[in-house]
Amino acid sequence: MMLPLGAPALPLDEAGKYVAGAYVVFVVLLVVYVAIMAMKLQRIERELREVAEIAEGNKGSQAAPGREAEEAAPRV
């Protein structure tokens, strides 16, 4: 790859701001990406909870006639 040339070295106090800026930009981008992924994960979790509730509801409605029959049966 390549390096920019033809410029005198900046003093440390001035160069430090730019170096810190570049590394902070990288970290901020990473944090923003992770935050977006965290929100997506929360949405998936919410959807999974809803699906589980639907599945439990279906299971309950299927199990109900069986329970009625069991309750109606004479106890020995």
């Binding site: 790859m1 040339l5 170096v19 930009v25 999974l48 699906v51």
Partner: protein
């Protein structure tokens, strides 16, 4: 399935980034010309190289998709390009900061390396509207694969064109004669490159896992809403 191995990969990535940053600030010698500002090089160049290789990898996955017609490869291709575009944003911003510190300008239009990377980035920025303009999922995947292959082939051609162009501003870092990196700097640079490559792989795996989980929840919901019309099993995550 996609999440397998994500934990050790994440740990290795964090460890490698920590090692690379330590080497950059405590081991790598100061550059004679640039001084401390040259530390941006260890972030900017590995990010650029990883992004460019990521675009090519996206094209390779797209070839696999067209050859096998397996949607899994389309998802891989999409995610590889997506993460590379994010890396591309970081490359452009860190490059602009470096340019401002070194040249006094945020952007230099007559510098082939900068402009060529911007062209590649803008080309891949059109991937999203191009992809989502097509509603039919099979056609969408096919057309996106053709785009990924064409654009992926353009990346090395573009790189070679820039290498062949003579610029007075950018000397070659990996050149055998002038402008080669000294040993200590090269070691640090290679560590940074491995760290960025690992980060790219981790993010790709993370994104694929999330997409796979989201797709499976949607499938489950569809199956529960219409139990009679249960579809065929699809392993690939839905790209949406």
């Amino acid at each position: 399935m996609y999440g397998k191995g994500l934990k050790p990969l994440s740990i290795a990535t964090v460890a490698m980034i920590a090692l690379a940053l330590s080497l950059v600030f405590f081991y790598a010698p100061l550059d004679g010309d640039q001084g401390f500002i040259q530390k941006i090089f260890y972030l900017h160049v590995p990010l650029a190289m990883t992004a460019l290789v990521g675009f090519i990898v996206g094209g390779v996955f797209a070839i696999a998709h067209l050859r096998t017609d397996n949607r899994k490869w389309d998802a891989y291709s999409y995610v590889a390009i997506h993460i590379s575009v994010i890396f591309g944003v970081a490359v452009l911003i860190t490059g602009a900061i470096w340019a401002k510190a070194s040249w006094g300008h945020w952007w230099v239009w007559n510098e082939p390396t900068l402009v060529s990377f911007l062209i590649v980035f803008l080309m891949y920025a059109t991937y999203y509207p191009f992809r989502y303009a097509i509603e039919d999922r099979d056609r969408q995947a096919r057309y996106a694969s053709v785009f990924a292959i064409t654009a992926g082939a353009f990346v090395p051609l573009n790189f070679m064109a820039v290498r062949m162009a003579q610029s007075l501003v950018h000397p070659r870092v990996f050149a055998t004669s002038n402008g080669g990196l000294p040993g200590e700097m090269l070691v640090v640079f290679l560590c940074c490159l491995v760290a960025m490559a690992l980060l790219w792989m981790t993010l790709v795996k993370f994104e694929l896992t999330a997409k796979s989980a989201s797709g499976q929840v949607k499938r489950l919901r569809r199956a529960l809403d219409a139990p009679a019309s249960t579809g065929t099993s699809r392993i690939a995550p839905e790209v949406s």
